[in-house]
Subunit: 365 residues, 2 copies
C-alpha cells in the first residue's frame, strides 16, 4: 500500500489543458528504463488494488454473516438503470490508484471510470501524453454477487496506444500483465498465450467453427427493431447456428460465452482461452489494459463493425475509445498461411456474420 | 488415489436388472452413519478427480511448451458435432471414479457420462437403487481451452433423488459439496448461500430485474424457425430486454451469463452468485450433484417448460433426467412474503417469458 499522497495533486486533466502543454512536459517517448520502472509500479498497483477488492468482498461477507451489515439492496446505488451498479468499493479503489499514480508520476494524466462517469462529458479525453486509463472494478455486478469474474484494470497509454496493461482478478488468483516489447504474462511467470503459439494452434481451417466466441449482452437493452440489442442478438445467432444455416452465415462456433466483464473477455482472448471476442459499447478503461495484453500476446484487435469491403479491406488496429472491438487470439502459422493471415481470415469470417452496431463517440474519428 | 479394483466388478447396471433385484440388496434407505461415510468418500473422490484434471492440464501445457506433444486439434476427438469434444482425460477420470466406487460400494449402481454416451440407448437408467451419477469432466470445451470453468461432478442418487453432490472446479480452487440434511458448502468451510440467506437477500420485488440470469447456447444449433435454438434465443431476449418491451415480457435482468458448464451454473445458483438458471437439453450427470447443492442451500429447482396454467400451477421439483431445468437461488423472506413464496413468484415470472423447449426422454414421465 502507498502512503496517502497530497490530494491536490490528484485530478482529471482535460484534453484542452493537455493540448496546451509543451510536448516535453507530458508527451515524448518513454525510455526503456522508464517504461520498465513504470511496469513494475503498475503490477504492484494491480496487486494492491486487487487485494482491496478481495478485502472489501470478505468484509461484506463477514458483516452480512453476523447480521451487522446492511442488506445488499441498500449498499448498491443505481446508475443509468438497474444493470449498472456502483459500489463504494469502485470509488475507494479508484481513489487509491489515482493517489498512487499522482504521487509517483505527477506529470501523467489520469482517466478513471468512476471519475469520468461522474463528469458531464462523454468525449474521448486521451491525448498523446502519458495517460493512465483505469477501471477500478470491471464486472461490478459479478462482484456484488460474489461471482469470480471481476477485476481491476490498469493501463498506461502513450500517444494513444496502450503500452502497459495490468488486469488482476483476485478471486481467480489471476494477474495478467503486459508491457510493450516484453510480451504478455499470467501471474508474471506464464507467458501468454498460455499453451504457447504451437499449443493454441493455428486458426482452424473452418473457423469460426471450433472457436469459442465471447460476447456480452451489455446494458443497452432497448427493444427497437433495428436497435443494438437486436443487432447483437442477430450476430450471436449467426455465429452460433449450424454451418450453412441463415443464408450461409451459420458459424457453428464451438461455444458462446458471456462473463459480464469485457476486461476478462480480452484477457482470456490474449491467453488463448477464447478465440474471438466481439463487442460494442464498452469504454476505453474496459479495454486499454486488455488491448496491450492481446497485442503483446500476438493477438489481433480491430473494429467490431465490418467495413463496406469487409472481405478485402485492410485490417486496421482498433482505435482506443472507438467503443467497437473485435479481438482474435494469438495463433501459430498454418501450412501455407501465416498466423496473421489466419487471424485476418477469421476477422473476415466474423465480419461476414455480424451487424453494424451503433455506438458513436465524440472526439474519435 | 485408490488402488486399481477388479475390473469385473465395474459395469453399468441396466434398469431391467435393477428392477429384478430384491429391495434389500440395492434399495432401502441409507442410515445417517452410512450417508455420512459415503459423503466423506465422495468429497475425497471429488478432490482426487479434480487433481487428475489439473494434472492432465499441466501435463498438456508442458508437452506443448516443449513441443513434444501433439497439436491440440489431433488430441481431440469429435463426437456428435464440433461442439462436443471428448478428451482422453474424460475417459481416464471416469474410469478412476468408477473403479473407486465399485471397490468401496460394489452393490451400488453407476452411471457415468462417458460410459453412458458410448452405449446405444438414451433411456433414463436411474432406478430407486443407490446410484452414482457422475460427469468426469463438465465443460470439456473450456478444459481444452484452459478456460477455468470446468469441473468434475459426482452425485449419489437414492430413490431417484440426489442425496450427495460434489462438484470440484480445480482451476478455480472451488469444491462445492452437499449432503441431504447437512447443507451445502464451498471448500467444506463456507456454508452456501455464500452470503447467508440475509446476505443474498429476498427475491427482488421487481424480479427478474436485478437478477443475474444464467443460460447456455448448448449444442442444438439447428436453424429451424420453431426449433430449440430459436426458442432459446427468444427466451433469452425476453429476459434481457428493457422492462415493458416485447409485449410486456421484457425482464431487464441485471446480467446474462453463459459459462459453457451447466454444472457450474447450478453450483453458482446454489451459491447465490447467479439468481436464475434456465436450461434444456442437459443430462442427469450434468445436474445430479448440482440439484443436491441447490436444494440443500435452500434454492428451488423445477422444470424449464412453463405448465399450461403457469401462473397458478403447483411448482414441483424437477425430475432428474427430465432434461428441462429452472433453478432459483436461495433467498430470505420479504416482508409479507416467505422465501419460498418469493422464489415461486420468480419462477412464474421466468415461465411468463420463456418458451417450451423440445427435449423428450424415454423412461421419464
Amino acid at each position: 500500500m502507498q502512503t496517502q499522497p497530497h490530494a491536490e495533486e490528484v485530478r482529471v486533466v482535460s484534453a484542452a489543458e493537455l493540448s496546451e502543454r509543451p510536448q516535453g512536459e507530458t508527451g515524448g517517448e518513454l525510455s526503456d528504463t522508464e517504461l520498465a520502472e513504470i511496469y513494475s509500479f503498475a503490477i504492484q498497483l494491480g496487486r494492491d488494488a486487487g487485494a482491496m477488492l478481495l478485502n472489501s468482498l470478505h468484509r461484506r461477507r463477514r458483516d452480512e454473516a453476523v447480521g451487522t451489515g446492511p442488506e445488499e439492496e441498500t449498499v448498491l446505488e443505481e446508475k443509468l438503470n438497474a444493470v449498472d451498479i456502483v459500489t463504494e468499493t469502485d470509488r475507494e479503489v479508484e481513489e487509491f490508484i489515482h493517489s498512487a499514480v499522482a504521487t509517483r508520476y505527477p506529470s501523467h494524466a489520469f482517466i478513471g471510470e468512476e471519475t469520468y462517469s461522474s463528469g458531464s462529458t462523454k468525449e474521448y479525453l486521451v491525448t498523446d501524453a502519458p495517460t493512465w486509463v483505469i477501471d477500478p472494478l470491471d464486472g461490478t455486478v459479478n462482484f456484488t454477487h460474489s461471482f469470480v469474474m471481476f477485476c481491476v484494470s490498469i493501463a498506461l497509454v502513450v500517444r494513444g496506444k496502450p503500452v502497459i496493461g495490468v488486469i488482476h482478478a483476485p478471486l481467480l488468483n489471476q494477474l495478467f500483465s503486459a508491457c510493450k516489447g516484453k510480451g504478455a504474462w499470467l501471474n508474471e511467470t506464464m507467458r501468454l498465450p498460455l499453451l504457447g503459439k504451437v499449443g493454441v494452434g493455428p486458426i482452424p481451417r473452418n473457423a469460426p467453427s471450433k472457436c469459442i466466441f465471447s460476447c456480452e449482452w451489455g446494458k443497452d437493452r432497448k427493444d427497437e427493431p433495428d436497435g443494438n440489442l437486436h443487432r447483437k442478438v442477430d450476430s450471436f445467432v449467426n455465429m452460433a447456428a449450424e454451418v450453412g444455416a441463415r443464408g450461409g452465415k451459420g458459424g457453428m462456433v464451438h461455444g458462446v460465452r458471456s462473463l459480464g466483464s469485457a476486461t476478462m473477455d480480452l484477457a482470456y482472448t490474449a491467453m488463448g482461452a477464447f478465440d474471438i471476442w466481439w463487442e460494442g459499447g464498452c469504454w476505453e478503461w474496459d479495454v486499454a489494459a486488455g488491448t496491450c495484453l492481446v497485442q503483446e500476446a500476438g493477438g489481433l484487435l480491430t473494429t467490431a463493425n465490418p467495413p463496406e469491403d469487409s472481405q478485402t479491406a485492410d485490417i486496421e488496429d482498433a482505435k482506443l475509445g472507438s467503443r467497437l472491438y473485435l479481438a482474435v487470439r494469438p495463433a501459430c502459422d498454418n501450412p501455407g498461411e501465416t498466423a496473421r493471415e489466419g487471424q485476418e481470415r477469421l476477422v473476415r469470417e466474423v465480419w461476414r456474420r455480424v451487424r453494424h452496431l451503433d455506438y458513436s463517440r465524440p472526439g474519435v474519428a
